[in-house]
């Protein structure tokens, strides 16, 4: 970890201003991913701006019946919030499927959206990685790729977005609110927040340099049955092979998004339209897939996971 200077700011405006004047700065809140990466010098900021005192830790109702979730609300607080448990169960369930209790107590809503990939070659600084060092090559291609992406990936990068919370936010059509270094605010639909890798896998989100997430806004509740099924090798504390977030009616119609297979939470209009036909929806979700030999099983796993989620929505299991 490189030395860095540290400052604490007390408002989003101060944070934006600090970012504007600091060369090589990063915001830090929970720090659970950033510090992990800094220890390996995958991230090497020279200045950290502590945003934990900026007053973004509240959850409040919006005028249209939705919720505004401050960027600093922790994963635990969000998953345990009474309105979230009642009206946005898929979000609670996705959050508690991720990481561990300790990490969820620190990880924030804003930071979790920025969680970086778990590709092992990204994590090994001896290995070529276009995401870590642009245009250096991709060691994952031809290497150990069982966990990696099958859709939306590119020649340059086959990594996945590893998080769970965002998969639920995608199915809920959440909106990300930000402040830019010049102090101006904007909103970014969750569908546009995570970028596909293309030729620039080091650019992962729609955020501009120095731009800070201030809140995530949920639209009014959808009703229906909220499910999140995360498939992984061990029963807990592991990243998804495939995950499915779903909000469905009793016939299995509604919305689905898939995690663990792409650079972003993967939602396809045609898949929603194909529901409750799991096979047809899965075909739409995995259309154009370009898996490796090691992760081709994810195509069948998407269908089977989706079928299980639909069966549960139909009340087939207690």
């Amino acid at each position: 970890m490189k030395p860095f200077t540290f400052e604490r700011v007390s408002s989003p405006a101060q944070a934006a201003a600090a970012a504007a004047k600091s060369r090589g700065a990063r915001f830090i809140a929970g720090g659970t991913n950033l510090l992990d990466l800094m220890k390996l010098e995958i991230e090497a900021p020279t200045h950290l701006i502590d945003v934990t005192q900026t007053g973004l830790g509240e959850i409040s109702a919006t005028g249209d019946g939705g919720l505004r979730i401050g960027a600093l609300v922790t994963n635990t607080a969000l998953a345990a919030h009474e309105r979230v448990k009642r009206d946005y169960g898929v979000l609670s369930r996705a959050i508690v499927a991720g990481a561990s209790g300790q990490l969820r107590n620190k990880a924030t809503t804003g930071g979790n959206l920025l969680q970086r990939t778990r590709c092992p070659y990204f994590y090994d600084t001896n290995m070529a990685c276009n995401k870590r060092v642009p245009e250096s090559g991709c060691s994952a291609r031809g290497g150990v790729s069982r966990q990696l992406g099958i859709v939306g990936v590119s020649e340059a990068c086959i990594a996945t977005y590893p998080g769970d919370m965002a998969v639920a936010l995608r199915v809920l059509d959440a909106v990300v609110e930000t402040v830019r270094p010049d102090g101006s605010a904007r909103t970014i639909p969750i569908a546009e927040f995570h970028r596909l890798w293309g030729d620039t896998p080091h650019i992962e989100t729609a955020l501009e340099p120095g731009e800070m997430i201030t809140a995530v806004v949920l639209p009014a509740p959808l009703g229906g049955t909220h499910l999140y099924h995360k498939v992984r090798d061990r029963r807990s504390y592991a990243f998804a092979l495939v995950s499915v977030a779903a909000v469905l009616d009793a016939e299995g119609r509604g919305r689905v998004a898939v995690g663990g297979i792409a650079p972003r939470p993967w939602r396809v209009e045609a898949a929603d339209a194909a529901l409750p036909d799991a096979a047809a929806a899965a075909r739409a979700l995995t259309q154009g897939a370009s898996p490796t030999d090691q992760n081709a099983f994810k195509i069948a796993l998407v269908e089977r996971t989706l079928a299980g989620v639909l069966a549960k929505a139909r009340g087939e299991f207690a």
Partner: protein, 735 residues
């Protein structure tokens, strides 16, 4: 004490302290954070420097140069040691490649430099500024691609590691029921919770290492050999270590580099391997490819038995001894077993908990399940039909005590084995397919020399001193129990000092030999203490009874303290063994039973319950013995379902080198476990009439899980770990 014939009745048989469920005596220190591990010795070392190890970025080749300018300029840096500034250091015991020195790279993350700095943060930052250039050479990284041409391993001086009896091929060809199955097991990592760590300090010619090591006397001799020191100038101290499972049997780079760094700086230096370095820098359980061929009569009796295990290692490295149990476990007149060993340029393969049996039984007991299936026979009955009371390769040689059949019958009954569904894929509960599987557990009990010192002081307090280690096995407590039992004192009167190489050399912790041998040494020392006490009190040592702090003979009774006066009685004694191990095969036995649920949609697995019924002679402390077994069962679940060091066959390294990528079991993987110990004594094995148990609990578990997966789904997976990608396409179609 030389143990040459089975002992008769001893004071241990009273079982007033030994054999009673006893909480660990060091427990309160551990649960309150007061037990100090190797990197935490603020109690004895002031103001140490911090060493950070740099690992090689290539798997094979040479280091052609270092550029240290930037690293040396970093704040706080005191010294940087590089591998090219010295010749390759000699090997320590059990090392197959050098731990430091020279320009040749044998494996990924081999230690090539140590940065010593004032703080951990400064050392780590400077370490990533050490610039290295390499010349890479090609190597063999893929066991499967070279297994077919791997030569037979060498069995010491005895030539090829091949054992044959009768005519396997002819008997196999004639057998009415045959199985021919090839199983693979992956490279596995010990993944103990405390990374390898050492604090080193020189005072003149004398070196002290506060280190995390299972085998103190091996470690002492090894560091002396590696650094060219006189053994008497080296002291190792390891009162606690945070797990080992074989990873800390041998000297590793943390100790060597801490010692070198301390020598160079003339300051105490402490080194902990960073977790990402542990997987490739240190040792692992090597992957295997195992072919099993069985021929049986229709009643299940095997007439032909063959097991050939192929593994790979660096030149000079050892085999994964996967056939070991197959030479002893089942009767069959025609037999062929062998080990093959390929040269493989991956990190060092070496012992991990139950080396040999753990991987070997994952294959053997899976194939046995296949044979039961082919015969239409209950898998438990198949094992019973093929049980033997003698060494199958040497029928003159009996087992000292073999109660495998009892383990299986009692375990099956307690588990409810008979109530299982016998049609594969035939039981479903909601989204779950439910299956049951069983396997035999088998692991040898190994006699080894071990020594201890027992001090009996005037106030009736006893101190046991030995360099024996407690790696979580419960050594502190069973040694105290042994001394208390022998001297007729309460457990609280005994204190135990472990892990200090200044104390008598014990057998160390490995090969599940620690408990029986280290307690036997305390037993032997106490026999002498009793003789001295009885003689001084005018009693007959053979007849005196030591109870309640007094010595009794007939109607006479005198306090123990009367024998002591102002001084203390100090006895150094060891246990050594005659030829009982040659005359009798000494082994431990278990029946493992598993209930597994498999998600019919996704193939996810959930162990629901596990049961082991074990025979290991006297169970010295049922609390810690049970913990050893449930812990081993947990490790077996990991081996069966998730654990695999993923090899990048292009670059020759384990890719998933952290605890997120290498998935060991977590709490949620282990819902319910039960352990039954048969009440048996084995006086052939040791004067304590005890054998080992710490590895038995692992052997066979993986196969029991795999067999349960087969029973649940009807899919036989022979490639461990049983991750869902290997059977998803064979699960029943989804509606």
């Amino acid at each position: 004490m030389k143990y040459v014939e089975p002992v008769g009745e001893t004071p241990i048989d009273r079982q007033r302290v030994v054999g009673r469920p006893t909480p660990r005596i060091e427990g309160p220190l551990k649960v309150t954070g007061r037990a100090h591990y190797a990197y935490e010795r603020h109690d004895v070392v002031e103001d140490p420097l911090y060493g950070f190890v740099v690992g090689s970025a290539i798997a094979q080749g040479r280091v052609t140069g270092f550029d240290l300018a930037e690293a040396k300029a970093q704040p706080g840096v005191v010294e940087i040691l590089t591998t090219t500034e010295m010749e390759a250091l000699p090997l320590g015991l059990g090392n197959s490649t050098t731990l430091f020195g020279g320009d040749v790279i044998h494996h990924y993350h081999q230690a090539i430099a140590l940065v010593v700095a004032r703080s951990f943060e400064e050392a780590r930052a400077a370490a990533s500024r050490v610039r290295v250039s390499y010349a890479r050479t090609p190597g063999h990284h893929d066991l499967a691609s070279i297994a077919d041409t791997a030569p037979f391993a060498k069995d010491g001086d005895k030539g090829p590691d091949v054992s044959a009896l009768g005519d396997f091929e002819a008997a196999y060809a004639k057998a009415p029921v045959r199985i021919d199955a090839t199983y693979t097991t992956p490279d596995e990592s010990h993944a103990m919770m405390e990374p390898h760590a050492t604090t080193a300090h020189w005072q003149g010619d004398k070196l002290t290492l506060w280190t995390s090591n299972q085998m103190i006397s091996w470690g002492k001799d090894s560091i002396a050999n590696v650094l060219g020191l006189k053994p008497e100038n080296v002291r190792l101290d390891c009162p606690y270590l945070g797990g080992g499972f074989g990873a800390k049997l041998f000297l590793r780079a943390d100790a060597v580099l801490a010692a070198l760094g301390s020598k160079r700086t003339q300051r105490p230096v402490k080194v902990m391997l960073s977790r990402p370095l542990v997987f490739n820098n240190t040792t692992h359980r090597p992957a295997t490819i195992q072919r099993l061929r069985f021929g049986a009569d229709k009643d299940g009796r095997m007439t032909a038995f063959s097991h050939v295990c192929t593994s790979g290692n660096l030149p000079g490295g050892d085999i994964e001894n996967g056939v070991s149990q197959s030479r002893l476990l089942y009767a069959a007149p025609n037999r062929y077993t062998a080990h093959r060993l390929a040269e493989l340029d991956l990190p060092e393969g070496a012992s991990m908990r139950a080396p040999g049996e753990a991987a070997g039984m994952m294959a053997l007991e899976g194939a046995m399940d296949e044979l039961a299936e082919a015969l239409g026979m209950d898998p438990v009955e198949l094992r019973i039909v093929n049980d033997t009371q003698v060494d199958p390769e040497n029928p003159e040689r009996k087992f000292s005590n073999r109660k495998l059949v009892e383990c299986l019958r009692r375990g099956a009954e307690a588990f409810g084995w008979d109530a299982r569904n016998t049609t594969p894929g035939g039981r479903r509960e909601g989204r779950w397919l439910i299956g049951h599987g069983m396997a035999v557990g088998f692991r040898n009990s190994i006699p080894r020399k071990s020594a201890a010192r027992v001090r009996l002081s005037g106030n009736g307090q006893v101190t046991v001193e030995t360099d024996m280690t407690d790696i979580g096995t419960g050594t502190y407590t069973i040694l105290a129990q042994t001394a208390a039992e022998m001297l007729g004192l309460p457990l609280e009167a005994v204190s135990v000092t472990l892990g200090d190489s200044d104390h008598p050399a014990a057998c160390g912790s490995g090969g599940q030999w620690g408990a029986a041998n280290s307690t036997s040494s305390v037993y032997a020392a106490c026999v002498k203490v009793r003789e001295t006490v009885a003689t001084r009190l005018g009693f007959d040592p053979a007849k005196a009874d030591f109870s309640d702090g007094s010595v009794h003979q007939g109607s006479e009774s005198r306090p123990l303290a009367d024998a002591l006066g102002a001084g203390e009685i100090v006895v150094d004694e060891s246990i050594e063994y005659g030829d009982l191990a040659e005359k009798f095969q000494q082994s431990t036995f278990a029946g493992h039973f598993v209930e597994l649920a498999v998600d019919a949609y996704t193939g996810e697995t959930q162990v629901r319950r596990m049961l082991a019924c074990c025979e290991a002679g006297r169970i010295l402390n049922p609390v810690s013995a049970r913990s050893q077994v449930i812990g081993a069962m947990t490790m077996g679940v990991g081996a069966a379902l998730t654990e695999e060091l993923a090899v990048d066959t292009r670059y020759g390294f384990f890719v998933n080198h952290d605890l997120a990528g290498y998935e060991v079991p977590v709490h949620a993987d282990i819902p319910h476990q039960e352990v039954i110990f048969l009440e048996e004594l084995d006086p052939v094995a040791s004067p304590m009439k005890a054998k080992g148990v710490g590895e038995l609990g692992l052997c066979g578990v993986g196969a029991a899980v795999a067999n349960a997966l087969y029973n649940a789904t009807g899919v036989r997976v022979r490639e461990y770990p049983l991750t869902l990608d290997k059977y998803l396409d064979k699960l029943p179609a989804i509606a």
